[in-house]
């Protein structure tokens, strides 16, 4: 698989490590009511779709940026690639 890095251009997926569902950006508030249940859901449960999947890849052998890659799990086709920082900013989670 070739991941088209928004800053560096096409890179071999081998340069990256994989974390999983991009929903992991949406870390619950540990101080909120019901935090234990929210963290159970966050840490363990997955949509695990057959088809389009938004997921986090870390460019460990490159610029060490986190990417949100939208990829089809049935075909391995990569549909879009964004910097995870930009995704987090849109959610108001990053400065």
């Amino acid at each position: 698989m070739i991941i088209n890095h928004p800053l560096l251009g096409p890179c071999d997926a081998q340069e990256f490590t994989y974390l999983g569902d991009a929903r992991l950006i949406e870390r619950p508030d540990g101080m909120a009511d019901g935090a234990a249940a929210a963290f159970f859901d966050y840490a363990y449960l997955r949509e695990n779709p057959a088809g389009e999947h938004r997921e986090l890849w870390f460019h460990e052998q490159g610029d060490r940026s986190w990417l949100v890659v939208t990829r089809n799990t049935l075909t391995h086709d990569i549909i879009s690639v964004e910097l995870a920082r930009d995704v987090a900013r849109r959610q108001g989670r990053s400065a």
Binding site: M1, D12, A13, Q14, T17, Y18, G20, D21, F40, A43, Y44, L45, R46, E47, N48, P49, A50, H53, E55, R71, T73, L74, T75, H76
Partner: protein, 416 residues
């Protein structure tokens, strides 16, 4: 029809005209007492033990494709019970004992071959860990034997003992481990279940569950609604997709694992070997091909095929351990979809929906578990209580922090 040497002789003398199909091909009935979703090894074993051991009647197995066309036909056929933890080892030892009596029980030649499995040791720390694991196995009634490097050398002289980086220091052997002809497991269980009255319905895809007032009344399928008193789901590689029809999200990610077979060779590899410094395992099939594999590719996939970097990694592991492998040509390779649970251990449990039961999350160790998985799932379906050896395989262990974390590495869907 009972298979025997006498029957074979009789058929040989009469032109083999008397053989009958090993199982029927019935149309689905409108209602069953128990419907098993998934006609793989685990589903067929469940149906077989439900009918034979738990005296249940009116059972159907529903399969979207054909019997043996899923993961039971895509694995590397290894059986063993070399686990450490209390939640796992009794279950896998129960499974190994069932393998030992399987062919007599099924009257079917599944080619169960207890040729032994050897986990190689490359460091002192690994020797400590394997000694502990071996003692755990023995305490649970399994067999384990710690071998020195010299003992390993006598049995496997062709391994690379003096690899500068990964020298072989010994091994943990389980002599009762080995391999089984995987397709024959599916066929044997299918035939056994059919003989005991189970309807095996192929080419029938489950498209949903009919759930009313918190109770599952049956399954919607590509061949219409099939009512059921109880529904058991055993659909390795599709667990999240099927259970999403019931509104459930599982502690599972599906990943692709690749496996490889070489050209046929004369007997070179007496048992199953695993490389302890990387991830590589290898056995030789009765047809002569070296069957081997390594790590999962490491990203979510339902594609049943992997990518080249992992193939390179497996080949490197193989060459580090077994340099002669470099002269062998690869015949074929494939990928299978593994439902990787968050602690590396499976789930056999009721769901919050009345009458809906789940068996899955076998990671890449489901094949060896087939008989015990079927038995324990049948026990749960028939009695509504977990089998003692599978009592830890509960859904709520993640919520309660009672992970069965064989690798001791926490909540990650890329464990064993």
């Amino acid at each position: 029809m009972r298979y025997s040497a006498f029957r074979l002789l009789k058929e040989a003398l009469s032109g083999h005209k008397g053989w009958t199909p090993a199982w029927r091909n019935p149309a689905p009935k409108p209602h069953y007492d128990i419907v098993i979703v998934g006609g793989g090894g685990h589903g067929l074993a469940t149906a077989y033990y439900l009918a034979r051991k738990f005296r249940q009647h009116n059972i159907a197995v529903i399969e979207k494709g054909w019997i043996g066309g899923g993961n039971v036909g895509r694995n590397t056929t290894i059986i063993r019970s070399n686990y450490l933890l209390d939640g796992n080892e009794p279950f896998y030892e129960f499974s190994l004992k069932l393998w030992e009596g399987l062919e007599q029980d099924l009257n079917y030649n599944a080619m169960v071959s207890q040729r032994g499995i050897l986990n190689l040791i490359h460091t002192d720390a690994q020797r400590d860990a394997f000694t502990r694991r071996g003692n755990g196995m023995i305490l649970h009634g399994a067999d384990a034997e710690l071998l020195s490097a010299e003992q390993v050398r006598r049995e496997y002289p062709f391994l690379n003992f003096d690899n500068a980086r990964f020298p072989i220091k010994g091994g943990l052997a389980q002599r009762r481990g080995g391999t089984v002809r995987h397709d024959a497991v599916a066929w044997g269980y299918a035939r056994g279940a059919d003989t005991h009255g189970v309807d095996i319905i192929q080419n029938c895809e489950v498209t949903g569950f009919r759930i009313e007032n918190g109770a599952c009344l049956g399954v919607e399928t590509s061949r219409g609604f099939i009512g059921a008193g109880k529904v058991g789901v055993a659909v390795a590689g599709n667990s999240s997709r099927i259970m999403a029809h019931a509104g459930m999200r599982l502690p599972i990610e599906s990943h692709v694992l690749q496996a490889f077979v070489s050209e046929g060779l004369k007997p070179v590899l007496p048992g199953v070997i695993t490389f302890g410094a990387g991830h590589f395992y290898c056995s030789q099939s009765d047809k002569g091909g070296l069957v081997f594999g390594g790590d999962i590719d490491g990203y979510n996939s339902y594609a049943q095929r992997g990518n080249l970097p992992v193939i390179e990694d497996v080949a490197e592991g193989g060459m580090a351990l077994f340099p002669g492998l470099g002269r062998v040509r690869l015949l074929r390779m494939w990928g299978g979809i593994m439902d990787m649970s968050m602690d590396g251990s499976p789930i056999i449990d009721r769901t919050h929906i009345q009458g809906l039961y789940f068996n899955g999350g076998w990671c890449y160790g489901g094949f060896k578990a087939t008989p015990a998985s079927g038995w324990c799932f049948a026990h749960l379906l028939a009695t509504d209580a977990p089998h003692p050896t599978a009592a830890a395989y509960r859904f709520d262990r993640f919520r309660k922090g009672r992970m069965i974390d064989e690798k001791g590495m926490g909540a990650q869907p890329n464990l064993h």
